[in-house]
């Protein structure tokens, strides 16, 4: 027998083996393949829309009737001098949101886990998740009241003598990213905690008992039992969110921005909104092109993060 034939038959065996295994796993297939078809229809089906990023797309004319313009829309984005500011701002704000959001949620979850009184624990949980339900318009209004030149924060700073004249928190670019981060933490910390609290329910209580017998203090228990117990959730969410680094939201930024901070406040979404729907004629394709750009960068980041996690032998997403 030649080498090739050996390889071919081994290959054949592999494929055969694959199908034999698959046949045995028909129950798993019943449980998973319908949803696979579902996402092909609902999520991948509409992806023909990405083709319109290469068109001067007019909804009424549709994909077939609109004019093809090649890379013109991408050229518009990549040659516009504020687009790269928008990319930078998006990245910076979502990174801040990711770090602040994750740390604060875990911290709150750990603190809650240490509460013995069940009624108090539930009250804290319920109250801290309330702001999640406030609309951004209301939240932005409150941010105005707190951070404006005549706002609460300046009043406090001036009473304490920390500053002589009010600081224009909303009017200086250097504060803007951090403000968004702080507001998002405040709004979402309770909501973000839920997932970690749920993860903690799977921790084996005997581990705590064992730790106590070993003489571990509270902080050691947190360090050696609680945190490892939510590590896989943390890793999975982290990888997932790294893929979302091109998404910084836009509503809060849009509501709080002003001419003075535009160079720091405008995200990719705001840029796309300005030039696709803020104009006299809508330019759908700019929005699509920007969306495509975000998707591709997001997927690259995601796969990268996933690979790193795998190399470090940590929990992975895929």
């Amino acid at each position: 027998m030649t080498n090739g034939a050996v390889r071919a038959s081994a290959e054949k065996g592999k494929i055969g083996h694959f199908f034999r295994t698959l046949g045995k796993q028909y129950q798993l297939m019943i449980m998973s393949v319908p949803m696979l078809l579902y996402v092909f229809l609902f999520n991948y089906g509409p992806l023909w829309g990405w083709l319109t990023a290469f068109q001067d797309y007019q909804p009424r004319k549709g994909l077939a009737g609109s004019k093809w313009v090649g890379l013109k829309n991408f050229e518009f984005l990549f040659t516009h001098n504020t687009f790269f500011l928008a990319v930078r701002n998006t990245f910076a704000m979502s990174l801040i949101n990711l770090v602040f959001g994750t740390v604060s949620s875990i911290l709150l979850a750990v603190l809650l886990n240490e509460v013995r009184n069940r009624a108090f624990k539930r009250t804290v949980q319920t109250v801290t998740y309330l702001p999640h339900f406030l609309s951004m318009v209301i939240v932005a209004g409150m941010a105005q009241n707190i951070f404006s030149g005549r706002g609460t924060l300046n009043e406090i700073l001036m009473t304490l003598g920390l500053t002589n004249s009010p600081i224009l928190f909303l009017g200086e670019g250097k504060y803007f990213w951090w403000l968004i981060g702080v507001i998002n933490v405040w709004k979402e910390v309770g909501w973000g905690t839920i997932i970690y609290i749920a993860a903690m329910t799977s921790i084996d209580p005997s581990l705590y008992e064992a730790a106590a017998i070993d003489g571990a203090g509270r902080f050691q228990r947190i360090l050696h039992v609680t945190l490892p117990g939510i590590k896989s959730t943390f890793m999975v969410l982290l990888i997932m969110n790294i893929g979302h680094l091109m998404e910084a939201g836009f509503e809060l930024q849009y509501l709080l921005r002003s001419g003075l901070v535009m160079d720091y406040s405008d995200t990719i979404d705001i840029f796309a909104l300005n030039y696709s729907f803020g104009t006299a004629n809508p330019h759908y394709a700019y929005g699509t092109a920007a969306g495509m750009f975000k998707s591709i960068v997001g997927i690259i980041l995601l796969l990268g993060a996933n690979r790193i996690a795998r190399a470090l032998d940590e929990e992975t997403l895929i």
């Binding site: 009424r60 002003s258 001419g259 003075l260 104009t279």
Partner: protein
């Protein structure tokens, strides 16, 4: 019986069982889907006006209103022919419906005999049909506002510099006429009254400068130069070539921003001006802490309402048509023209979509609703119920009747707002001298908007109406008002241009006085390239419009 038959017919139609049979006296009941590119309340099922329309014309409406982004929504509707509503109002983007070809040409359905009211409407005193036609001579949308019958009634409701009435009283009822006089008065008043009656800090001059409200920051210069609101350009109406230019980058714009810079450093303008949102701005106004601002009357109506409600009549605002002092414009004395003649609301209102099965019935409906009888119902309501003839034989409303018109709950059942807003209608006066629009009818306008404080205030100023502070309206220029021009072809540059102003003007105002000239020059350098594109475009468009308007009179 008739109703029963109509229902049966409608049912049969829905089921597709029988072809529509048309009886002469009972038009088949049809349901029209209608979209409005603005937010409205859903009328109730037994709304009295829609009920009468259903009885008289056999037409029912299924309404859908805007809740998201207008252009995005229109795009979705246009992407699928089947989802086109029969009656399609594109709100402030209606011309996009025309461009996309989803509306039908209405001209074939309009004739002197068939639709006499519409015919007359389109050949009225301030309407020239030609101005409404597309380049191929089609008529897609009949303007929903701005067609005047008989006498034009013009109230000031638009842009001006405003000042609290108490400040004018404090100044012995001497009213500032120029920019310097205005700020001088504010400074003097503020120096003497750093806090208002409630002990809150007074704000000398407030500028709302974000998003669509940036007009408060950008628009004043044209008015200071003696022009009505053309948006962002000044058109020289005395120039045979209709010279058009953006004003923000002209040398004559600088004195205004330099003045604001000076006032900023004097503390008359506070830094929060450039970061605040509309709620904050409105709360400052409603608290009676803002001495002056540039705005449009209707844009802060609710603040005035709040002040009246608190009994702070003296804190409500007087509109002032300020102009530049001669020193800023080579010694020229500028004549103010804040109020313009009525502009036809071209390309705004209902169109009929290519999806509509009953275009003729709808055009006939438009025509019938333009009859005097229906116009009174739509503008005023039903006699006896919603209005009455007073002892002078004039149409009038009691206070209660007028107040209803701001009560959302009442309006849902008793007014046909979504329809009213989009159909062609009569404005100006009826043949018997009553105003078509009740809110400008003298009796109602004065009874509803003039408090005793106001009457006394006017007497002391020596005027009889708020409009007396203004010059008579200019005759509307043949190009209309330049802000109406569709900026589609230069979209991206126009947007960049707008954003640059929003970004740079606050910087100019807040600049260190020594650096003011430098910052201004930097701004001019940044803005000039897009300004030039915009100017060239507008010049061309203005000339086109003028040619259309003047060309048609020549015929």
């Amino acid at each position: 019986m008739k109703k029963f038959l109509a229902t049966l017919l409608a049912l049969a139609m829905i089921l597709g069982l029988v072809p529509a049979v048309l009886a002469d006296d009972a038009p088949e009941l049809i349901t029209i889907t209608a979209f409005k590119g603005a937010a409205f309340d859903q009328p109730t099922d037994d709304n009295k006006i829609f009920k009468k329309i259903e009885e008289d014309f056999g037409i029912k409406f299924e309404w859908e209103f805007l809740a998201g982004n207008l252009d995005e929504t229109l795009g979705l509707k246009m992407a699928d022919d089947e989802s086109l509503p029969d009656l399609f109002d594109g709100g402030n983007s209606a011309e996009k419906l025309e461009n996309a070809g989803v509306l039908i040409d209405l001209l074939p359905y309009i004739s002197e005999e068939g639709t006499p009211n519409l015919w007359k409407h389109l050949h009225g005193t301030n309407v020239k049909l030609d101005q409404l036609l597309s380049e191929d001579g089609e008529l897609f949308i009949i303007p929903n506002f701005g067609v005047i019958y008989n006498q034009e009634i013009k109230r000031h409701n638009g842009p001006a510099f405003f000042i609290q009435k108490k400040v004018i009283a404090w100044n012995d009822y001497k009213v500032p006429k120029t920019l310097n006089e205005y700020f001088d008065l504010i400074e003097r008043y503020l120096a003497e009254n750093p806090k208002n009656e409630d002990g809150l800090d007074n704000i000398g001059f407030h500028i709302l400068s974000k998003t669509w409200r940036r007009f408060c920051l950008i628009n004043p210069v044209q008015h200071l130069m003696g022009r009505p609101n053309d948006g962002e350009v000044i058109v020289d109406i005395n120039d045979p070539g209709w010279h058009t230019e953006t004003f923000i980058n002209q040398p004559y714009a600088k004195p205004y921003y330099a003045k604001l810079n000076e006032e900023f450093h004097k503390g008359v303008i506070i830094p929060d001006s450039f970061t605040m949102d509309e709620d904050t701005y409105k709360s400052d106004l409603a608290k009676g802490t803002v001495i002056g601002m540039f705005d449009q009357t209707w844009a802060f109506n609710d603040c005035t309402a709040s002040l009246l409600n608190q009994g702070k009549y003296e804190d409500t605002y007087l509109a002032l048509p300020l102009v530049y002092d001669p020193e800023y414009v080579d010694g020229k004395v500028i004549e103010e023209h804040y109020i313009n003649g009525t502009v036809m609301n071209k390309d705004r209102g209902f169109g009929i979509s290519i999806n509509c099965k009953y275009p003729e019935r709808l055009v006939k409906l438009f025509d019938a609703l333009l009859s005097d009888e229906w116009q009174i119902i739509l503008h005023w309501g039903f006699e006896g119920e919603d209005w009455y003839y007073d002892e002078n034989g004039r149409m009038n409303m009691t206070k209660e009747q007028y107040d209803h018109r701001n009560d959302a709950q009442w309006k849902r059942a008793n007014m046909a707002e979504p329809l009213y807003d989009g159909i062609p209608k009569k404005e100006g006066t009826m043949d018997n001298g009553n105003a078509w629009d009740p809110s400008v009818q003298d009796e109602i306008y004065y009874a509803s908007s003039l408090t005793d404080y106001d009457k006394e205030f006017m007497a002391k100023c020596g005027v009889e109406a708020w409009e007396d502070f203004f010059n008579k309206p200019l005759e509307c220029a043949p190009y209309g008002e330049a802000w109406q021009i569709d900026k589609g072809p230069i979209d991206e540059d126009y947007q960049t241009w707008c954003l640059l102003q929003e970004q740079w003007l606050p910087k100019v105002i807040m600049a260190d006085p020594d650096k003011l000239d430098e910052t201004w020059d930097e701004f001019i350098e940044v803005i000039n390239p897009t300004s030039k594109i915009y100017t060239d475009f507008m010049q061309e468009e203005v000339l086109k419009l003028v040619e259309k308007a003047l060309g048609s009179t020549a015929q």
